[in-house]
């Protein structure tokens, strides 16, 4: 299992350079800095269309290539096999994709690469909508969130359905590692990468990346919003090792009310008390279930 790495002990070289064209307060930029510091120089990162390619990729001076939106899983599979055919086995092959390239158009290739247990590390930087094209809903957009394709009005209440449970979808493939992480918990995040990058097989890290532009909060509040979603149980931090050993890596004694996390986000401003309550009960129920399986083997 992973061990959290205190901020003062993060030893890696700073790889990501400053001056990216990402929006102010972009969660992806923080994530890239932490993640590639943990991966180090012997890393190839790959891209599919999205915010990362457009705004950040030039600030990550590593071997890299990109492909079509739906091709992320196949690209990393090809690269790791191509390197292995040349006798190179000591490079990290990293997918650094958004939620669209992972959960929607990329899901088929993700599933196939996971099923083959390819020796790659997939990071999903999840800002919960198609932010690069202006904020349309994705399969990772939470219920009730307003996006440009799920506006809220008296008759429509934002997105109608819950987001896909991505980490459990991947875990059902019996892979080397599955984890969730938050940019507000860098010790946990870096600890997970440090641990999992040494494993052979398919590694998946699902990182929430709050988006001030799309979610509608002040760019200075990115980390605060990220922290509140974890503290309220909306974004639980856990990992699944050895294919099915489940463990919560952060367990607040008491969850904060979801309203504290949703309040600063314009995309939830239309919520009625009843709708907020529905989210609260669902989070409570899920948290209870997660506590029950904490430290246990999942039934797959």
């Amino acid at each position: 299992m992973s061990k959290s790495v205190p901020l003062g002990k993060m030893a890696g070289e700073e790889i990501v350079t400053s001056g990216s064209t990402s929006c102010q307060g972009c969660g992806h930029a923080v994530l890239a800095r932490l993640a590639f510091k943990a991966f180090g120089r012997k890393t190839i990162f790959t891209l599919v269309p999205g915010c990362i390619w457009i705004t950040l990729s030039r600030n990550i001076p590593l071997f890299s290539t990109g492909t079509v939106f739906e091709g992320g899983g196949a690209l990393i599979s090809g690269i790791t096999n191509g390197l292995a055919a040349r006798g190179i086995e000591d490079m990290n092959v990293v997918a650094f994709y958004g939620d669209g390239g992972t959960a929607d158009i990329g899901l088929q290739g993700l599933s196939a690469a996971a099923e083959r247990n390819e020796d790659v590390f997939w990071i999903c930087a999840d800002n919960q909508a198609y932010m690069n094209t202006g904020g349309q809903r994705s399969g990772a957009t939470p219920k009730y969130a307003q996006t440009t394709t799920t506006p809220a009005s008296d008759i429509r209440r934002g997105k109608r359905t819950k987001r896909k449970n991505l980490p459990f979808i991947v875990a059902a493939h019996d892979v080397a590692y599955v984890g969730t992480a938050s940019i507000a918990y860098p010790s946990d995040l870096v600890g997970k990468i440090e641990y999992a990058k040494g494993l052979k097989g398919f590694k998946f890290l699902h990182v929430q990346s709050p988006c001030p532009t799309g979610w509608g909060f002040s760019p200075s509040d990115t980390i605060k919003v990220a922290r509140l979603t974890v503290q309220s149980g909306i974004w639980p931090l856990f990992e699944i090792t050895e294919g099915s050993d489940f463990r919560l890596t952060y367990k607040p004694r008491e969850l904060k009310p979801v309203g504290e996390a949703l309040g600063p986000q314009r995309r939830f401003r239309h919520l009625t008390d009843e709708e907020s309550q529905e989210i609260q009960s669902r989070v409570n129920g899920q948290w209870k279930q997660l506590l029950e399986i904490d430290g246990k083997r999942l039934p797959f």
Binding site: F63, T65, A74, L75, S77, L83, A85, Q108, G109
Partner: protein
């Protein structure tokens, strides 16, 4: 030299990949390509081929995964047919990696062969080579790597063989000796291949050779120039293949029994093979009509057809395809190539063999006779379905 075996076209493809020492292969099952995947899996399981095989969930992933492997420095192979090829279209578009792909032709309106599948990839920037028999298939796989990996070209190659007619039909095929193939085809050195001991600066400089960057018009210009450079490379590789293995295919095209011909028919794939004895018979009857077998559709031999236009008075172009709303793809391109020629020969078109409909020697004879007539005066209609 080498030894002969009776084999179907799909096995000839797989043998070509084995002899070319492919390092990473990926493909998804689709009729009539499927047995290529099975033969390759067998060759790997028997230890005849030391390659990684990526068992993908779709043709799109087959295409992208070999692109990933090629980018990472491995020699790669994939294969597909008809609908699978259409599903690959997105990642094929603009690809500039030296991948070789066999396309076992399957119509878009039946499971039988025609060339509508590969013709639909006309503008993807791949080299397109059409084969007429199983020996040519095996030889073209090997030649394709040499063409694709040439520094002047560095582009992917799709080689076509007609489904069923070749894919599932056994013919005697000579399998060249591995040593000779090794001498002809050196190991692949990938332009974009990363290495843990390489600096990013070195890698970037290496990768940038000859490739205009994404987001610029120059990327299109460079791609087109590399494609046009492939014309001489295809001819060179074919000649060298002939010297080493004793077989050659004319490079971009082959003129068969064309000496002093008044008119020529132009055919691709297995129709060319049906046409040979028909042309021989017509010549014996004293009818001066020859055959031009078009092997390279991309790059298209515009200049070469203009040269031929000085010698022949008529071209009868057989299209096993149709661009709906326009006409025969090869006919239109050939006719366009002749526009600037003084004292232009006539060019007439024929569609035949679509959806796998049989193309008989009798049909080819009719086509040839009409073309001969066109060499002497106007004929009607300009284009017809045979």
């Amino acid at each position: 030299m080498g030894h002969k075996e009776l084999m179907v076209g799909n096995k000839a493809v797989a043998y070509g990949a084995v002899l070319s020492k492919v390092q990473v292969a990926s493909a998804y099952p689709i009729t009539p390509q499927t047995t290529i995947v099975e033969y390759l899996a067998d060759f790997i399981a028997e230890g005849k081929l030391d390659a990684k095989f990526i068992e993908v969930e779709s043709e799109m992933s087959a295409q992208v995964s070999v692109q990933g492997a090629s980018w990472a420095g491995a020699r790669t192979f994939t294969a597909t047919s008809g609908p699978g090829l259409l599903y690959m279209h997105h990642p094929m578009m603009g690809c500039r990696l030296p991948i070789v792909m066999a396309v076992v032709h399957r119509s878009n309106k039946s499971m039988q062969p025609d060339h509508t599948d590969l013709m639909a990839q006309r503008d993807t920037g791949w080299i397109h080579l059409y084969c007429e028999d199983n020996q040519e298939v095996l030889d073209t796989v090997i030649m394709s790597y040499k063409i694709a990996e040439d520094d002047r070209v560095y582009l992917p190659v799709a080689l076509g063989l007609d489904g069923y007619i070749l894919s599932y039909t056994a013919e005697p095929v000579e399998i060249p000796d591995q040593e000779l193939v090794d001498g002809f085809l050196p190991p692949f050195k990938g332009r974009s291949a990363p290495h843990p001991d390489m600096t990013i600066e070195e890698w970037r400089a290496n990768q940038a050779r000859g490739a205009g960057g994404y987001g610029t018009q120059k990327a299109w210009i460079d791609h087109h120039e590399n494609m046009m450079a492939a014309k001489e490379v295809i001819v060179e590789v074919d000649e060298e293949f002939g010297r080493v293995f004793g077989r050659s295919y004319g490079g971009l095209y082959e003129e068969y029994n064309c000496e002093d011909a008044e008119a020529v028919i132009v055919a691709m794939g297995t129709i060319a093979s049906t046409a040979r004895p028909t042309i021989d018979a017509l010549r014996e009857e004293g009818k001066d009509v020859g055959l031009v077998k078009l092997k390279s559709f991309r790059p298209f031999p515009h200049d070469e057809f203009r040269e031929m236009a000085k010698r022949y008075n008529a071209f009868g172009v057989i299209d096993r395809n149709i661009s709906i709303g326009s006409g025969g793809v090869v006919f239109n391109e050939l006719r366009s190539a002749l526009y600037d020629v003084d004292d232009k020969p006539s060019a007439i078109g024929f569609h035949t063999g679509l959806s796998g409909e049989e193309v008989t020697p009798g049909m080819v004879k009719r086509i040839a006779e009409k073309t001969l007539k066109a060499a002497r005066g106007p004929v009607e209609p300009l284009v017809e379905w045979v």
